[in-house]
Subunit: 218 residues, 2 copies
Amino acid sequence: MPSQAEENYLKAIYHLGKQGCLSVNTNAVAKKMNTKASSVTDMLKKLAEKELVNYIKYQGVCLTDEGKRTASNIIRKHRLWESFLVEKLNFSWNEVHDVAEQLEHIKSQKLINELDVFLNFPTHDPHGDPIPDKEGNVQKSQKIFLSQINPGVSCSCAGVKDSADNFLQYLDKNNIALGTNIQVIVKEPFDESLILKINHSTLTISKEIANNIYVKIN
Amino acid sequence: MPSQAEENYLKAIYHLGKQGCLSVNTNAVAKKMNTKASSVTDMLKKLAEKELVNYIKYQGVCLTDEGKRTASNIIRKHRLWESFLVEKLNFSWNEVHDVAEQLEHIKSQKLINELDVFLNFPTHDPHGDPIPDKEGNVQKSQKIFLSQINPGVSCSCAGVKDSADNFLQYLDKNNIALGTNIQVIVKEPFDESLILKINHSTLTISKEIANNIYVKIN
DNA sequence: GCCATTTTTTAGACTTGTCTAAAATTATTT
DNA sequence: AAATAATTTTAGACAAGTCTAAAAAATGGC
C-alpha cells in the first residue's frame, strides 16, 4: 500500500503525463510538488522499484497501468470529497481543495463506495472536473449548459439550444463559435450572469444567453 | 500544530488519565499505543517541550490544559466522524473505528463545524460515548431509555418510567437496582429484545422492559 | 564538434518516529 | 536493608522523506 507521499507523486505524474510514455520530466514534478529535483529522483526510484512508474535515468517517467489505477483512484476520492464538501457541508467551490487533499488519503474502500452512493453517483466535481469511476475510467465529458459551469472552469462551445438568427448573430459578434474555448471567471449570485474569458478578452453574458449555449468541460 | 503521532499520544494519555496528575505511566501508554516504552519516553519529552503534558522522569505524565484541549478536540472529531459514518454512510457501529482513527486527524475547523451542523449537533456517538463540545467540555450524560442503547455500550440504571409493583419486583428478581451497571451485548433486530450483561451474568429482556428503564451512559 | 548552460542524479546530512540493548531508577520481597 | 524484579530511560541504529552541494549527463549555440 503506497504511502501518502507516494500517492501525491503518482497524482502529480498523472496530471502531468497526458502525452506518451517517459514524457514527464523531473523538474516538472518538482515544481508541481513544491520539492527539489533531488527529492523527486529519490522518489521516482522508489516508485519504479514498486512498479508504479516506468522510469529511465535522465529520460523521464510515466505511470504503469498499476500506477495509473492507483492515481485515478486518488483523484476519484479527491473529487468525491470535494463534491461532498460543497453539496452537504456548505463549502464554496474555492474552499474545498486543501481539505480534499487531506481526505483523499483516507484508506477505506467501503468509505468511498458509500460516499459515492450518498452523493448519488456524481460524474463531475464542483470545479467541473470529471470523477473517475471505480475502474479508473474517466467519463467523456458531455454537453451541458454554460449556465451550469462554475467559476474557474474552462470549457469549449459544443452547440446551441435555440438557433434563432439573432442569437447566432450575437454569438458571431462576440467571437463564440463551435469549439471556442470559454472560461468562466465570475458567476454573479444576484442574476446568475457570467463573466467569461474568450481568447484573452472578457465578455459578460446574461443567464438567458448562458442557458442557450451547450459546452463540454475540457 | 501537533503531528499525527503526537495527537495519538495525547489521545491515549487523555483516555488513561482519569485520576490526578502524573497518574499515567509510560508502560500503560506503550501498551495502549502498541509501541515500546522507549518510544513513549522519547515522545513524552517532546510533548513536555511543547507544554502539552506535564512529565517528570520516572514519575509519570498528565495533560496540561492545552494538551487536554487538543486531546478532546481529536476525540470530538473522532466521534463526530463515527456518527457520520453510521448515520449517513450505512456503516455499522463496529466498522467505524479504524476509519474514524484516520479521519480524526484531518485539519479543518470549518469541516468539523459543518459536520456538526450536518449531523444536527449529536451529543453521543454510535457507541454511546459523549461527544465533547468545541470547548472540550463533555456533557454530563443524561437519562435515556435502555431501549435506545446500542450493543457494546455500557450504562447504569438511573430510574424507571412506570413503577408498577410487579415491574419493580421483576427488576429486583433480576438484580437490577438504581446504579446497577448494565452492558448491552446484543440487540435483536427482529423484536428489539436485548441481551444484557449484569454483574457477569446474562439476561434477555423484551423491548417493553427496555422501554421502562432509564439509564445513564457511563 | 566543442563549450556553456540546463537538467538530472549522486552523496551526504537532517528530522520524525520507531526500534533494540544496555544502563539507571524505582518497587517488591524476604 | 539488601537482593531481586519491574519499570523507565539512555544510547545508538534504522527507514522515510526531505534538503544542499557537487558531479554527471543532456541540450543548445555557434
